[in-house]
Symmetry: C2
Subunit: 522 residues, 2 copies
């Protein structure tokens, strides 16, 4: 596959100078158009050692307008990153719409390294690559352009370059505290790289193999490829936007006729007042202890609450938070997004609040807004909310795989009970603020919401992240059910180590000893 | 001072129930008004051990509308926090306008602990408290309300409470991995607390001493105090805003008549083309090495560029970034703030990008915008930009004290040279995007800018953070001067350990051994 990168192409100094000026002008113009069309661009820079990835990135930074370009490297993991699901760091580096992020290696770096060092099998690598394909597709569907560069050169050229670098005082290779050993196993590394590239070279996010032997050729080719990619992405923009505007909000007409999962909830379930008090106290003590145990074991927890308006989310959440030490949790009420949030993929704002190891985040409403309010109100297009199910499943899978204990609640009440609560709220002074025009409006769309909820639960109640449906007409019953579910799940989860569901064990360098032995790849 | 907190006040269950309902209603209403008036509120919760700070915080979270309240504790420092100036973590927890942040201990926690443990002297503590007073004043002048609670109880009550806690499974005190020893030295702790409170009890941000023996009394008093503080802050809002609108942008009329520091720059300074090339290459190699040395020594660097439009900031920055490994630096072009940025103090957006230990941030324009463009264009009121000088000095002092190497450049060119460059830009295709209507407009305000720059340099060229004025008419000369300054400063700074200028040595628990011995306070 890499033959084409070893033919020895080069560009003369004069040609370079001439072409560079034209290219810069066009790149700057393309950048302005990116901003106008609100397209975010992710540039991934990977390749063999000594191919000059850092040089290329400096060159791009020189050519592009610095307003709107950020560069991210992932070699120096902080504990805030280490203690969260491994994609958190990539979400942190996502460009807002209209801007460019240049990523060193990005999400390809660790899988390649792990396979090369023998920390995972080919099959496990393939599984991870499948997830990468899904991840990239998700970003692209959200409007992003992903441009992936792989820099390659022959073994002889690489050896020469490394020799040159070791003489050059400016060389990173020389300065790096720990030299890595990829270059000493040229063929093995090439083999892993080929597997990765073949597997992830999709039409929507292709790899560009760049011959890196000649610096001028390399840089010009990168610049031109980037320019071409931006231009062709922008030429689609108009057609696509036209299509988008043709999509009408998808309001199923026969929704009210369906019998849903929610209809089967026994909303008459209740608990006597006295039992409630005793049980509540017991469960609060238990949750408090479990939160400390989780802290000491460095396991994090995500508690997610969705439900009918006035379904009792707030009340349940308060019973939980008041039993946990305030130092250990953060409650995130999900309201309208800020403009920084709007400039990113809809999952970005939730990634922001994923807890560090040992901590708890409670989401009062969540990423499911995409398939609930955004679907019903038509804020998300048909294609958008439809693909959100699998995006959400992948997201939750990542949380669980990283050891996060994820518990999802749907608090349900009957339409009559809702009416009663709305009226109550209007009568209790300190509850009045909770009821707005919107609530009454949403109420009229009850059948549509019901269908959306039903489909949501059906499509996103996975083995690793099941929904707990809570019969909410009796508030005490609902609270106890929520808290008992939390206690049971935490108790169970804290007994054992997190077990990734995907077979691919990500590990930082610190944990390499713990992982299975190299399988003789080098 | 604490006598009033030991009289044994209490509230009956019935009174509590009755008053609570009324209080909650009013707190919620006050919260809505906060949002309407865009006032950010910072609640600091401090006090003796076992006074129930966590309980109080849970209570406030129960009473307030969760949308708009966040709680922050500072006991579990991450490396991202440890590797930055110590106030970075507080800036991270600042509420946006209209919202409330509740901080456990906040910026008082460490000074109290350090003095109590004998890691600093009374004089050093006082110095730190002065800085706190300035810091709080700055936030208040920006519109914030700060409500500081100190929970206190008699030694007997505290002993009883600790006994109770050690029996209670829900107690944090019991669960905490390391029990601290404040309570075993009641009198010594009280003495430090008194010093701190007396020193920082200012009219604009008073301390509220709360008797913590009775939980109901404690919680009600906190709620009422908070309510009262918000109400009285809001009642000022209207008058204040009227005053603000009376302040006209301060455009000095005789500016053009003054001879300024800038006039004394010898703009004819230049460097021959050949010398430039040799010297540039040498300096780039040197900067590259110094960046790696700084990385290995975990010293961070802030390079800040201000200057006349078309003064050559971008060109200088590119010469620097292209010589540093792209993994080590981040360049921050300062443009219009996002809405999340607008919702905070103007320094917040710069704190966001302060580098971790070992890294470099380049600011292309900076916090000095406050006393330059915001002053001249009238975006900041008279009082606002006038007090910004000392706010900025304090900010930079903090950076330097934490070991950051800070280098500030002003790139200056003559008015004629600017005109020439503007015209050039319009002729070079890939430079055209750099010139806008604004640039021509700003040019007309040259004398006003000149005066603002002059005052800025005079007021903010401190011993620890001096300005380097760069004669910029000859681009090569300017670039060499910038790079040589960076090399010299870094070389010098990396030779020695950072020396705090303030006499107060902040230290995390990890470094306690390194600090001077306890002075027998316990």
């Amino acid at each position: 596959m890499f033959e084409a990168t070893k033919v020895g192409r080069s560009v003369s100094k004069e040609d370079y100078k001439e072409q560079q000026e034209e290219l810069r002008t066009q790149l700057l113009a393309a950048q302005r158009d990116l901003r106008a069309f609100n397209v975010p661009v992710i540039v991934l820079v990977s390749g063999v050692e000594a191919a000059g990835k850092g040089e290329v990135i400096n060159r791009l930074n020189e050519w592009l307008d610095a307003r709107g370009v950020q560069t991210f490297a992932f070699w120096d993991e902080s504990d805030e990153e280490r203690e969260r699901p491994r994609y958190w760091r990539f979400w942190r580096s996502m460009p807002p719409r209209g801007e460019i992020s240049i990523l060193f290696g990005g999400w390809y770096q660790t899988p390649i390294e792990h396979r090369f060092k023998g920390h995972c099998t080919d099959a496990e690598l393939d599984g991870e690559l499948n997830r990468i394909v899904d991840f990239e597709r998700m970003l692209i569907q959200d409007g992003a352009l992903i441009v992936k560069f792989w820099f390659h050169m022959s073994e002889t050229d690489q050896k020469a370059r490394l020799k040159e670098l070791s003489r050059d005082d400016k060389s990173r290779w020389k300065m790096l505290p720990e030299k890595s050993k990829f270059s000493e196993h040229y063929a093995a590394f090439e083999q892993v790289a080929e597997r990765v590239i073949l597997h992830t070279d999709r039409g929507v996010s292709p790899w560009y193999l760049i011959e890196a032997g000649d610096r001028r050729y390399r840089d010009l080719t990168v610049g031109k490829t980037l320019l071409h990619s931006i231009r062709s992405r922008l030429s689609e923009a108009t057609t696509e936007e036209q299509n988008n505007s043709l999509v009408s909000p998808d309001l199923p007409s026969s929704a009210s006729a369906q019998i849903t999962l929610l209809d089967q909830l026994d909303l008459s379930l209740a608990i006597p007042r006295d039992d409630y008090k005793t049980e509540l106290k017991r469960l609060q003590t238990e949750i408090n202890e479990l939160a400390w145990t989780a802290y000491n074991k460095k396991r994090s927890t995500v508690l997610m609450f969705e439900g009918v308006d006035a379904g009792g989310k707030g009340g349940a959440i308060r019973r939980i938070t008041s039993s946990i030490d305030a130092r250990l949790y953060r409650a995130i009420p999900v309201a309208a997004p800020t403009d920084e949030e709007k400039a990113h993929h809809y999952l970005w704002r939730f990634w922001r609040h994923i807890p560090r190891a040992g901590y708890i985040t409670l989401y009062d409403r969540s990423w499911y807004g995409r398939v609930l309010v955004e679907r019903v109100e038509g804020f998300a297009g048909d294609a958008e909310w439809r693909r959100a199910y699998s995006e959400i499943n992948r997201f939750e899978e990542q949380l669980v795989d990283s050891g996060v204990i994820l518990i999802k609640f749907w608090l349900h009440i009957s339409q009559d009970e809702q009416l009663k609560r709305f009226k109550d709220r209007e009568n209790v002074p300190y509850k009045r603020y909770k009821i707005t025009e919107d609530d009454w409006r949403n109420r009229e769309k009850w059948p549509h919401y019901k269908e959306a909820v039903n489909e949501m639960v059906a499509r996103t109640s996975t083995k690793h992240a099941a929904w707990t449906l809570v019969e909410g007409n009796d508030k005490p019953y609902a609270r106890i059910k929520v808290m008992r579910t939390i206690c049971d799940t935490l108790t169970e989860a804290l007994k054992r180590d997190p077990t990734p569901t995907t077979g691919y064990v990500p590990c930082g360098d610190k944990r390499i000893e713990d992982v299975k032995k190299p399988n003789g790849n080098h």
